[in-house]
Symmetry: C2
Subunit: 190 residues, 2 copies
């Protein structure tokens, strides 16, 4: 997706060979117009899949997921990474280890909103080691729902997540695929 | 806003005289179409205010804020409640005490994205005791930015937040104002 790559080139900051900072338009400040374009692109790629629900994870997945949900006309669920006062009962949970923070956390989705009748599109801001995506897949499968695919805004293709999801047979659609962050420079897969 | 009140009547769950659960369309599962209507309503109410930026707080404020930002054509910043790997330097912070969780946390906004030139609309999902709103106002004022007003999706008018913000001279626009959750029933202010 060219508009996204352009934005990454202009406003992304390479913090290390592993970490790209996109706080200017996705992870802290959000560009709503770009999110609408991203949502549109996910909708185009998955429109024929009879998706009933989008599942994402708080917080940075919410904006692109809601824009895709608006265009597809379906609800969005955001998995909780942190405890919620009103989300306590009937939870589907999965553990996710964060390499960047070196902590293990638990994500939770209410079984009330996700059932065996659902055909789910997973959306997330980043795909790196794939731990968050796998935890989302785990809770969706616990609900008995099927998975149409995984929509990713920015994929770090040089990390293992994409390959592992491919090997497991999931359809992954990433709108920007980064082959390297070496030498302080963003290189895209063509 | 009638569509919102209708949704609260149909899908809101009164957990106690203090707590309304709206996990079906706002706090866990999100109704994107309703969020678009909510964003439109905020945009209509604040359109003449020359707002340059919307500030909200993760996670449930993001969807309504991004829809309002889309319609107003301005960026959205979501304050971080939790530590972020890529958000570390040049932070404006404020402490917020959560009555419901009985914990104190720190919210953070990057000074890079909020400056004295900004005229800010604050958006949040709930207004109850007003602690989150006041912490957002604090970080915005630390940046030297001005505040156009506060847009709230659901106000619990029987708690102190609304009155206190009124007394401090802030313009508060709440799309649904709840006068009581007594007897397991949602009553709206007319």
């Amino acid at each position: 997706m060219e508009a996204l790559k352009q934005k990454i080139r202009e406003e992304g900051i390479v913090l290390s060979e592993q970490v790209l900072k996109v706080d200017a338009f996705l992870n802290h400040q959000i560009d709503p117009k770009l999110m609408q374009q991203i949502g549109h692109e996910f909708a185009v790629r998955f429109r024929d899949q009879k998706i009933t629900k989008i599942v994402t994870i708080e917080a940075s997945g919410i904006a692109p997921a809601v824009m895709a949900g608006l265009e597809l006309g379906i609800p969005v669920i955001f998995a909780r990474k942190y405890q919620s006062l009103t989300l306590k009962d009937n939870l589907l949970t999965s553990k996710v280890y964060s390499f960047t923070k070196q902590t293990e956390s638990t994500i939770a989705v209410s079984a009330k909103h996700l059932t065996a009748d659902d055909h789910v599109l997973v959306i997330d801001d980043f795909l790196a080691n794939g731990r968050a995506a796998k935890a989302l897949i785990d809770v969706i499968q616990q609900a008995g729902a099927s998975i149409a695919g995984i929509g990713v805004v920015i994929e770090k293709s040089f990390q293992v997540g994409r390959n592992e999801l491919d090997q497991q047979g999931f359809r992954v659609e990433s709108l920007a695929r980064i082959s390297s962050l070496a030498d302080g420079k963003v290189s895209f897969l063509e």
